[in-house]
Symmetry: C2
Subunit: 221 residues, 2 copies
Amino acid sequence: MQHDITSYAKSRHTVKAYNPDKTIPDEHIAKIKELLRYSASSTNAQPWHFVIASTPEGKEKIAKSTDRLYPFNRNSIINASHVVVFCSRLDIEEDYLLRVLEQEERDGRFGGNPEFKVQMHAGRSLFVNLHKHDFKDVQHWMDKQVYLNLGAFLLGVSTLGIDATPMEGIEITELDKQLGLREQGYTGLVVVPIGYHHTEDDYNAKLPKSRLPESDIITHI
Amino acid sequence: MQHDITSYAKSRHTVKAYNPDKTIPDEHIAKIKELLRYSASSTNAQPWHFVIASTPEGKEKIAKSTDRLYPFNRNSIINASHVVVFCSRLDIEEDYLLRVLEQEERDGRFGGNPEFKVQMHAGRSLFVNLHKHDFKDVQHWMDKQVYLNLGAFLLGVSTLGIDATPMEGIEITELDKQLGLREQGYTGLVVVPIGYHHTEDDYNAKLPKSRLPESDIITHI
């Protein structure tokens, strides 16, 4: 990276037109997958899945979820180099929690101490059950972790010189059907075309960013 | 930044013990505020507020929200250089939407074209009303934007050499009371102590990261 992180935060923008002739090189796709995989999540629950479309057929399936209500989003999906679908799990059941726990053990998180493994499972289950049974918002809680991943992703890819267009304007039912997500235990949340903006047509590249003043959003104590 | 963004994503970790004698310099606090302010959000709604505690009194108020249920979180709050409380708005009412719109106009987003201003307000209202009236999850939708900001923040501060400890383990009712958040139209979501880890005591700095395998979380189409 050449610049300070704030310069990326301030210069990145939501692309409105992609150059269909520019493709993200494989070594950057590999880095993008590492960004997705290494994101933080509450209790390391990682309640997510990602579909990465690089083929015209894959992008077309995703674009179908914009046709009825958000037709203005189709072109970005079709013309981008790749499209990343951020998905959430539909359930966070005991089997899955044990799978995460076993992975942590294999990766050396417990240093051979069985007590640490028990504590980790208890801590993660505490938060999952709080959201399942007390707050009854476990789907939203999982979705929030996916948004956390999305935030790191948008800033992260900008440092690689890659543009992005985060979209909530998709019909989830259609997206899930097109990609067969629910059968696999996932549901789509946000679609993010990535690539390189079209120098002439991307009007948003030329507009200044706008944010509320610092005094409105920050309190010091 | 000296390294590739993925090296930061892979090396950052949730700090379990801070060095109470190390303070984040002012120029980095200024950058941190820019990261918070310039985060993306759906339709640029920016439905957030941040409380930054740098005084012992401020940190003590925040720590009180851990005492009943999450006492293990107190020390990180007290010993960190600063503590950032990520808050969500409690409502996203017409007056607020117009305030964002006026700011965008002042910042030059509409280039003097009143039609663009009308379109922006209509687009943003479409999404807000979808979540208010159709999905009835507008609080969660706002919270998700705050988590997006949090994701960029965690990755962003790591590139400045600053450690962080994102915490959901806080009692929101107590936190909101201590900081007087609800009277101002906000509610706390996540507390993030930031600073520099204690070289000897931060056991998590020495443990390897663990993540599910790429083949589990990514599908290519």
